[in-house]
């Protein structure tokens, strides 16, 4: 089974990297770009676990380590 985890900066937290990329895109002529937010994409290969268990364990991984919930949100997908 594979878990795909997306970690993004919370809506109300400033994202200096996103802002810098936004101004760079504007400088390159992509004026249509509004807000840019930069996050993390992680692929986790999971050993044999049933889906319900995987759901629960990946959530625990996100809460404990993969995301800092003070500043970040997370979501994940399970495949296979």
């Amino acid at each position: 089974m594979k878990a795909t985890v997306y970690v993004t900066i919370k809506e109300n937290v400033l994202d200096p990297q996103g802002n810098a990329v936004q101004s760079s895109l504007h400088a390159l002529g992509f004026e249509e770009v509004g807000k840019v937010r930069i996050g993390k994409y992680m692929e986790l290969e999971l050993g044999a676990v049933d889906r319900a268990q995987a759901e629960q364990r990946v959530k625990a991984m996100c809460e404990k380590l993969l995301a800092n919930t003070v500043i970040e949100d997370y979501r994940f997908e399970l495949e296979g």
Binding site: L14, P16, V70
Partner: protein, 228 residues
Amino acid sequence: MKFAVLVFPGSNCDIDMHKAVEDVLGEPVDYVWHTATDLSGYDAILVPGGFSYGDYLRCGAIARFAPVMNEVRRAAEQGKFILGVCNGFQILTEAGLLPGALIRNQSLKFRCHPVDLRVENAGTAFTNAYKPGEIVRIPIAHGEGNFYCDDETLARLKANNQIVFRYAGDNPNGSVDNIAGICNEAGNVVGMMPHPERAVSDLLGSSDGARMFKSALQAFASQAASAR
């Protein structure tokens, strides 16, 4: 009074911290590796700056699960004095020993220069040798020192007098309310982005950081006196 300087893979201010204790106080101080499982012999624990675990995932995110951190948590509960500087501050917030988080500097630049700080709380274990409102000069050196917390947490920090230092001049990183350092509710755990261990001698440009170490010794003496 016995000090421990924690060392993680990637710590790089541990020697400065160790020397600061030796030079300023002349008290016993040991390097303690991140795998240690007993800190009971120490009265103060210093978590130095650097790039523990290469800052992988997030600054301090992996260090907080090092075996020694269980002991740091226990020491905090026992009221022992704990100071986290720079990456040490990041580790303490990741570990939940201090509220908030440190995010990327607003400028995206690594800022490395002396700053003026206002001592907002001169009652902590590490600031009792300063006058409230005093301006001190201590260098910063970080790329991710932008302190963030939500409004509710900020209100609580203010209400409990947990803001220890604020940037007195320009805010170098965009931190909420110009915060440079905070403490826990009890005041025995302090975290800050500036490096007091780099400001312990006029030869280094400032000796204003030395009193943080003297404060700890003073707090320890009065703790011992009240226990008697």
